[in-house]
């Protein structure tokens, strides 16, 4: 799971950019990642930690419904509060409400789960496809990821693809995206680790080599 390290939060003077973490382990078997409003992400994480504390590798219908129901309460509350507060102003539209868009990942042996829960709490399991994206840069991520054999890549190469996708999305300059890049791994034993600064530097250099190789192969087709 990979993310950029920047969030946009409201202040009295308008939106400001802050460094923030967007990926968190839940227990020792799940990774939680989210885009959206920082406060709503925090509340979503809090409730999911409570609901998924006893998670042991299986996501069944009742667990999924329980999670969606609790998240829906949070988001509906935020939307109602937003509409009430901004009633009659240009900001009343619920698309301006502080919501979150969540992705949960689990992997142990052959049991893999990628579960995305949208702001309206509709959800989809995406492990058959092998990836899911969320946030203001998601369209860049989907566009890039479709070119790679994501589902069958070995972990080291998967890290590089994830790094490239986030880096390119940041470089395209989507609003609210920025360094540092944060990457977390769940290996086949279910062990969760966060990449160190040194490992991120290694991926950055691998990305550089990759770009150099593209320039070498495609000459003037690829920008310096």
């Amino acid at each position: 799971m990979a993310s950029d390290g920047q969030a946009t939060v409201n202040s009295a003077g308008g939106p400001v950019r802050l460094l923030t973490q967007k990926i968190f382990p839940i227990g020792n078997q799940l990774l939680f990642g989210a885009s959206g409003s920082v406060g709503t992400i925090q509340r979503s994480l809090f409730i999911m930690k409570q609901l998924l504390q006893q998670f042991e590798g299986n996501i069944d219908y009742s667990l999924m419904e329980g999670v969606r129901k609790e998240l829906f309460k949070i988001y509906k509350n935020e939307i109602d509060r937003h509409k009430q507060f901004y009633e009659g102003t240009d900001l009343e539209d619920i698309r301006n409400a502080p919501i979150a868009d969540v992705i949960l990942c689990h992997s142990k042996g052959n049991n893999k789960i990628i579960w995305r829960i949208a702001p309206d709490c509709s959800d989809v399991l995406l492990h058959e496809i092998g990836y899911a994206c969320t946030g203001s840069g998601d369209i860049f991520a989907y566009t890039l990821l479709k070119n790679f054999n994501v589902k069958d890549l070995e972990v080291e190469k998967g890290k590089l693809v994830a790094y490239r996708v986030i880096r390119e999305a940041i470089e395209i300059g989507a609003f609210g995206l920025g360094e540092p890049i944060d990457i977390w791994i769940i290996n086949s034993d279910g062990k969760i680790t966060q990449l160190s600064k040194g490992e991120i530097m290694g991926l950055s250099d691998s990305f550089g080599i990759w770009k150099e190789t593209e320039r070498e192969v495609f000459k003037d087709l690829v920008k310096k």
Binding site: L160, K197, S204, S206, I209, E212
Partner: protein, 150 residues
């Protein structure tokens, strides 16, 4: 390895070593491959440990030391139009390097210069090709297929 010098000291001296009397910027890949060649060709003991990585031999300890040297204000990075930053020493780093050079093993220093000259004379892909060919065991996880890339 010289008893009074640490790996990090050698790394700092390497970054600051002038070639043709002029200081040169070095990229992380050039640094990484130089430290690898130094270990392999000068047979230095107690030096960085390398593993096969996406771009050939890599030591994450080199990255840790680069972070540390930067935090100590001994090196700084320089933005370039390429996909990575280059490194150069700061004024403070230059002072420290000059002190270190007084006790630096002359043979090791000569080897360091030769390696830096060699590495800087090559393009990135030429450098990788050289290392992969000479040390194939470290190229087994590479993302570049040199067989199809002439």
């Amino acid at each position: 390895m010289n008893n009074t010098l640490s790996k990090k000291d050698i790394l700092l001296v390497f970054i600051n070593l002038p070639i043709d009397d002029a200081p040169k910027l070095v990229s992380p890949i050039q640094i990484m491959k130089s430290m690898f060649l130094l270990k392999e060709e000068a047979k230095i003991q107690d030096f960085y440990e390398f593993i096969p990585y996406l771009y050939g031999p890599c030591s994450f300890e080199v990255y840790s030391d680069l972070i540390s040297l930067k935090e100590e204000n001994l090196i700084e990075d320089v933005q370039t139009p390429f996909s990575w930053k280059y490194y150069k020493v700061t004024a403070k780093g230059n002072e420290v390097t000059n002190r270190l050079l007084k006790s630096f093993d002359k043979t090791l220093l000569q080897k360091l210069k030769e390696i830096k000259m060699f590495v800087l004379s090559k393009t990135f892909l030429e450098l990788l090709r050289y290392v992969y060919k000479k040390y194939p065991a470290y190229a087994e996880k590479t993302v570049i297929d040199f067989v199809v890339l002439k």
